[in-house]
Symmetry: D2
Subunit: 295 residues, 4 copies
């Protein structure tokens, strides 16, 4: 991104071809790719891309009606909230935690079943980096086309391999570090999921209803998964008036239940119970867990 270390640092500037976020006084946001000699039309006037190209990030520019706009590089959560979509996307509050639980890291090998509108696809491609291997599987062409378009707009299309098929017939890849199921009935594909993950690999899912969670947990218990965890994440924003600090009036009450589990290695005989699962350990889950004991 930038390079300075002390001394003189050149402020990074918006360049032709960069992805940009432009925000007006009314909070209205535009995400666009800068292209010389084109214009951004807003309800409050026209902004020439040429006025933005070459400007410092964080600079203020004005529309032809004289109204100010701030120029920023979009962060990942802003990009995701702006994606063209045809289905419910995974919210930032859930996505950050999913990426952490799937242990996403540069160079990893990960797949999602259920491409959806590509929000998770984008996040995986972003986080896994150029050396990463991201697979996205769906049986609907239209969804994959949308996700492909969303990736292309962000310049991330080369990091993702799309597979058009029904996972009931098995996954096209194996030895995965992590697999995320964004499907209404993940409990029907656990045998296939187990075969696609390497031993110890992480399975994740998001489900809107409690009934689906019961079905999935039951299936995970039976199909050689361990360390099953179910949780939900609530996010509450605050009004940002320092002398009158208070939460906003309304919030999202529910997006989905998050489920995580680890694949056990195939074995003869019954899988061992690893005792209380993490989600039963409500207090321990939030405390340092006993640490390295060594002989």
């Amino acid at each position: 991104m930038s390079s300075g270390n002390g001394g003189t640092v050149t402020e990074p500037r918006a360049a032709d071809g960069d992805l940009a976020l432009v925000i007006g006084q009314d909070g209205k946001r535009f995400i666009l790719r800068l292209a010389a000699d084109t214009e951004l039309q807003t309800h409050r006037g026209v902004i020439a891309h040429n006025d933005l190209i070459g400007a410092e990030w964080g600079a203020t520019r004005h529309s032809h009606l004289g109204l100010p706009y701030v120029l920023l590089q979009p962060s990942l959560d802003e990009i995701l909230l702006h994606l063209k979509r045809r289905s419910q996307i995974i919210f930032p509050k859930d996505l950050g935690y999913i990426l952490l639980r799937l242990a996403i890291r540069p160079g990893m090998r990960v797949a999602e079943a259920g491409t959806g509108s590509g929000a998770l696809t984008v996040a995986l491609a972003w986080m896994a980096g150029p050396q990463g291997e991201v697979h996205s599987i769906d049986r609907r062409t239209d969804m994959q086309e949308l996700a492909r378009a969303n990736l292309a707009r962000l310049g991330l299309q080369d990091r993702v391999t799309f597979h058009l098929l029904d996972i009931a017939d098995g996954f096209p890849i194996q030895g995965l570090d992590a697999l995320f199921l964004d499907l209404p009935d993940p409990h029907n594909y656990l045998l296939q999921a187990r075969q696609a993950l390497h031993g110890g690999g992480v399975l994740g899912a998001i489900l809107p209803t409690a009934n689906q969670v019961s079905s999935l947990v039951e299936g995970l218990d039976q199909q050689g998964f361990s360390q099953i965890d179910v949780c939900e994440i609530l996010q509450r924003f605050y009004k940002t008036i320092p002398a009158r600090l208070r939460p906003v009036d309304r919030m999202v009450a529910h997006t989905g239940y998050l489920v995580f589990a680890r694949a056990l290695a195939p074995m003869l005989g019954p899988a061992p119970q690893t005792g209380a699962r993490e989600s039963d350990l409500d207090l321990d889950a939030t405390q340092p867990i006993g640490e390295e004991e060594q002989g």
Copy 2:
């Protein structure tokens, strides 16, 4: 990590020197680095590392008393919960969202002020990857030594530069993409923070009390930051008995308020107000924001 694509995939196996997570029937977790000819002492018997080395990840092994243990690669959240610590660490529920909001990605340039026990340091090093540039600044030697030890245990020490200094005197780096302040009084260092970030860079902070949030928001308003956002994240785990699905009895009620803002480019005259901030838009913040891209 692994490489197969279709055909025959060799299951990845635990090797001498790997970081491993070993979980007993009672849910007791051990994180350790595998070393030939050493032993793991547990309350339920001894496990020879030599029994673990060469095993498939996800495999079950037994202590000398015959009790089963599952062998896994630790995920980032498990590593963080096991860190040796001397101060409160940032919880996974908050950390995932922080990484997303700071737009952490392979190769980025990021700093934290307040090294603490190094949990965020570990997460930043993990996510920024080998090409990333992570700086951690603290004025206490003991905290940095602990963080350094935690990084070394994970093999991530080469990705982080430690700076022992007081940020009241200014940051030792400039042009940062993102900066996280894990300090009790971040509002006292906003001028320095602004100079360390490049235009449009992301500032983040976590604060335990509402009074601190008021002080920080007031300072951000005055020091050329925009897009100020305050939120809190709550996580509720569920018991995983399919026929009796219900939340666990207790949960963490509070870790800290999260605050995010974007640095504006220096300008003459007053900074423009960008209207309602995201956190005021409680409904919009959760919906796709209308997008207008124009040629």
Copy 3:
């Protein structure tokens, strides 16, 4: 209300003059007082009150367009949600807990400062019963007129005494069992509040911002109040489809912080600290507290 005990019970029926709740197929609710020879106009047709008078509660009647409506006695929370209002009312989720903490019971002596639209006034009159003594104090005539009208519509007007005055000059009553302050600056009236309560009386307040809570708690500490408690109550509704049980999409994120305290008897010298307050005892507050009763 009703009287049967076993044997033949006559189902209670809607009578001329009764308060009724009428609900359409579209969920639209009407609260009205039944009056012979009048009509209820809905968007889906006209219902003659004469069709409702004499019907069993819980019965279905039809508009002149043939659309069905269910006839019910309104419960207290439904009445409160329907009150004519000119200011924010206290929500049912908060109100139930407030009534419990103020220990409202038949025959008790209670006051509120800040009449508002009369929602709490109605609830206090309802719960304190015909023998209760409810005082409502405000310095604005218009608010008291609205509250008076709301009470009259419910037939509760005789249970409440209104006082038109500024509590900065002191309360017009003394020896109160409980006092609720629904004002923006309750910390300015704590001396007056202390004089209006009998020793050990309960003070309650609701406040939208964290800053106001800090001011109030500080004042309570200084003005001879003890057992200070601050909390907030969140309520999440569920969709009621048995095979797809899940929370609704959105919820109220904030109404107000609730503050409670007990008045100490006037004493010479500093008030004793009663150690950890209840709200600090997050675990104990939810468990049976050890009891030692001794002869």
Copy 4:
């Protein structure tokens, strides 16, 4: 309770036979009935009841070791948290809302099935007053004896009629205004419940698991109940240090799901659907519902 109106008010004083709450500096609470010539033994010394009898409520008294104790009348929520118990009690956060939704008021006629340890029994007796009619039904003698003892300690025993029987055989009373089911399988007794309630009467239940909620909602749909509502209530306490306002560290994550419904009058043909139920109207449920009253 007290009587002054203006002029000279005599502060109410603790009398022989009164229920009292005594709180030490360490926050330790004792609920006891005052009895002349007896003593309260604490870990920090002995307090003679004779020192408390005649004292103003809110006064401070000292143990024989010189440590101060505050004398208060216990409020309902404090009484409930101190009840001797053999089963999970209903928490104050839920109880206040339940009382509101059941529209409890002086003189009403209400029953509970599942006496439990008598916490709801106590609350109903307290709120329904001396003219109220409270029935408590259980098939276990031991539970009823405990509840009876808890009521007797509070002097409320005359307000409750206990029934020792199995509600599978039907309820012993009819024409109830409200009925609360505190049982693991309320869906098995809905026909009986419907017969016990008068038309339009309110049914309430509390259930720990999502599976039970699905079963109950399904049964209510089939058995002539309407206006079905499911919700959960979360309460978060705050530390009460004004300069460091923040939530406590831990909170109760779950007690139970609350379910409410209204009994329809028996009718020929299928019951009308009243469209969206209240719990589906997440936004409307929190706003004044449009009202049309017509003459």
